[in-house]
Assembly symmetry: C3
Homo-oligomer: 360 residues x 3
């Protein structure tokens, strides 16, 4: 099911100018250091120019100023932004792996009360519960599990091993990666005086906007009441935890293994590094950047860069780290200084009032 | 399958006193700021009283002292503890979503040598291995996977994508959330001198007590020999790791993304925050509280609050954090003080024996 | 399906010398403190010798010097290395739980264009996509999910809930634990000026070598282009994240909940503790040891032990921790010292030039 295109066709696709054989058939895209004959690659970073001499690629996307060695055997497509052109070409080749629209694998279990658009692809072993509503062009990969009353918007892709619990809402053009769990029970308990727990019923749902990507084995809990909300354009990496009633603002990105506790509201366009932890019931402003491994213990009210556990302004934590690295040596100097001062003190004490003594 | 009740019926349920229309039909429970007509809500926290003026809820659970505005259109149910009453009402409405007892989806695979009580619910695509034993009222959600010889106690709920490996034992009234893995191979290797590993066979099992909740995509490894044990009343959040041969004491709660290494024994009623790490082969006392992101490198023998990596008494770590935050400024003061002292030293050196010189 | 052996047979297996009844039938292996009649145990660590007096085991693997109490009722098998002997015996008993070679559960979905060796075991509900190639003696546990074009080498074991996306390559004798995801979309986005993201197509794959073990719910992303590579003999624990285009060197071990970011290259025989984070596009040397919870922000060029976030030489971070623990007390001493110095300064100022004053 792979796609091919001539150098000329690719050149048109990226609005570039071609130097080389227009009819050459290109079969895929690859990194410059790994590309082989028939493949196209790109140069968007000077650090990779050293690979131009030895690449086996048949064609390169380069900027206007690139100078090829006279011995170079590859064709060139000159563009304004080679990286953007690469994205376009990569998307072209990736689109060759289309699954057949409207396919329903006979092993899939589709509840009679589920409503699927004609073009939905249903892979082997997919389970679709009652009252689910699946819009056009959705792809349900083998082994995806939808409980009852799950709605999925047009063009979204749900991977194998994903579990969407009752009531989950997913928007359009989302990708839910394998093993992600949407709508599990939130972690809410009433603590008795004897230290035992009583469950707080979790009757809410998860609501995911459009153009959201959720990573493999990431977990997003249903709300206690109401909804846990992932807004449009959010990108969440693998193994991330989002607690009940949390809300993640538009176009925010969250790197792997970060945890957002319950009822916390993350602002728009936040960039949250890996292994960050945020306590519950706080919020962040828009345009907040949080360094990996930070711990956020209270609300962040100003956009900016934060770091540390508990987090402070990024540059302040960097100073703390520098200071901590110096600290063992400084402590030795401090002990030495203490001795010096005590010696000075003794000397001063031996001459209790300095000049007075000499006045005799 | 949703449930309704009159205000009078709800009032009886929570042993309260009603002010308003006894026959009004209530259809669900929601947060005060999100509740709509027909819904009941509650006020258990002064911070939410500001929503009372604008709530669309038809009825509120409030304490004896609550004063409604004269314009308020909602009914009131006065109770001693509004939060406890909310739990009761939430449980009532949640119970409306019962799955039919005794249901066996035809796509489920139930080994001929498995033993299921009549009332067990078996969802689509559930896989039940040989010699499994499933007690009354257990719910197996779509896509749950039980290897051979798994025993599940009465009233437990196993969600989709859960994998229980051979020999797993689960008690009564447990909830195992989607994607949790019980009984995977423990991480045990014998290291050869050349740095390669030889597998230590993992032949034990996982044993879970009664009233345990295990989070989505959490992993609890089988013991090398014997059992990894999760005792009664333990609540474990999502994406938590419990290593082989670990033991978690009664009524302990563990927040998301925490890792308990192999052969570690956690005491009773511990409260372990998120992203905590505990090394292997240690233990904690009963009633230990560990702050999020802490690292526990040795046994904790006294109940109390701990914090830091490596963890110390909670208040000590807070002092360390405060001190660290001051450190960059202190280092500047320290350099200044050094200069001052050296100046004093030079001055003293210029007058080597103070008054002696003046004694001439 | 469990196995038994006489004490004599076990003794031959481990090349030991037997003291006791050669014909006694042994039924399994267990820890010395938990072993019951019929079971064999071992003593490889002096700390466990105290259990020898009370053990119910019928046989013990011990070293040449072990002295049993005169009242001991167990047989002894003396060996050079009791722990190695234990491994051998544990493997013997574990091998009793063989699944029948060549079994194909009727509920499994095997694409007509997949190629399975005769001896492959296919459990219930397994899904095998087109163009998969599964070699001899592979075990696919119930609920394993293979997308199209997945290749698995001889003798590997794929557990339930595992998802191998298109193109995944797995070597020989690997164990992929339940819920692990190989080949999900890498986390790669182009950021627009308005803060929204554009997906970078992820068209590469995951390539796993021989003798690799991958933990439950661990995620290994496909490469953007080319391959994410896990080399021979690597052991990865549960809930670990390996980003797109990362490479893990031979015989490296990675403990639970660690995250290796995209395009990072980990060397051979690294030992990486739990909850470690490594940024992307860096590398580590061979034989690097990284303490749990460390953060690796730049390449490590020398083998050795590292610790901290950001990590430094292990012993340096230990010194930093010791210093930090002292810091709150030191700050008090520092303030006291400042006072003393200022007092000395005042005294010196009152006698601006020491003996000069007294010269009058």
């Amino acid at each position: 099911m792979s796609k091919t295109a001539t150098a000329h066709e690719i050149c048109e696709l990226v609005n570039g100018s071609l130097e080389g054989d227009a009819d050459f058939e290109l079969t895929g895209i690859n990194k410059i250091e790994e590309a082989g004959p028939g493949e196209i690659s790109f140069l968007a970073d000077q650090r990779y120019e050293r690979f131009a001499a030895s690449t086996q690629a048949s064609c390169l996307l380069v900027d206007k100023k690139f100078k090829a060695a006279s011995t170079a055997s590859f064709a060139l497509i000159r563009v304004n932004e080679p990286y953007r052109a690469f994205l376009t070409v990569a998307r072209f080749f990736a689109s060759g792996q289309q699954l057949p629209a409207g396919f329903r694998h006979p092993s899939a279990v589709i509840d009679a009360a589920a409503d699927l658009a004609d073009s939905v692809y249903v892979g082997a072993g997919v389970l679709i519960g009652a009252n689910c509503s699946i819009a056009e062009d959705v792809i349900l990969h083998p082994g995806a599990i939808l409980y009852a009353d799950v709605h999925i918007g047009a063009g979204s892709i749900i991977h194998g091993g994903v579990v969407c619990c009752e009531g989950t809402r997913i928007g359009q053009r989302c990708i839910i990666n394998p093993g992600a769990v949407l709508g599990a029970e939130g972690f809410g308990f009433y603590e008795h005086k004897d230290g035992s727990f009583e469950k707080v019923p979790q009757t809410g749902r998860v609501v995911v906007g459009d153009d959201v990507e959720i990573g493999a084995n990431t977990t997003i809990d249903r709300a206690t009441m109401g909804a846990t909300v992932i807004k449009n354009g959010v990108k969440i990496d693998n193994l991330v935890q989002v607690g009940h009633n949390a809300s993640i603002g538009e176009h925010t990105g969250i790197v792997s293994q970060t945890g957002i506790s319950g009822s916390t509201t993350v602002g728009r366009r936040n960039r949250i590094g890996g292994q960050v932890g945020m306590v519950g019931h706080i919020s962040t402003a828009d345009d907040v950047y949080i360094e990996a491994k930070s711990g956020i213990a209270k609300s962040i009210k100003e956009s900016g860069k934060y770091f540390g556990a508990p987090a402070v302004a990024h540059s302040d934590h960097v100073k703390q780290i520098v200071a901590l690295h110096q600290l063992p040596a400084i402590l030795k100097e401090f002990r030495a200084l203490q001795k010096t001062v005590h010696q000075l003190q003794r000397q001063a004490a031996e001459n209790p009032s300095g000049t007075d003594g000499s006045a005799g």
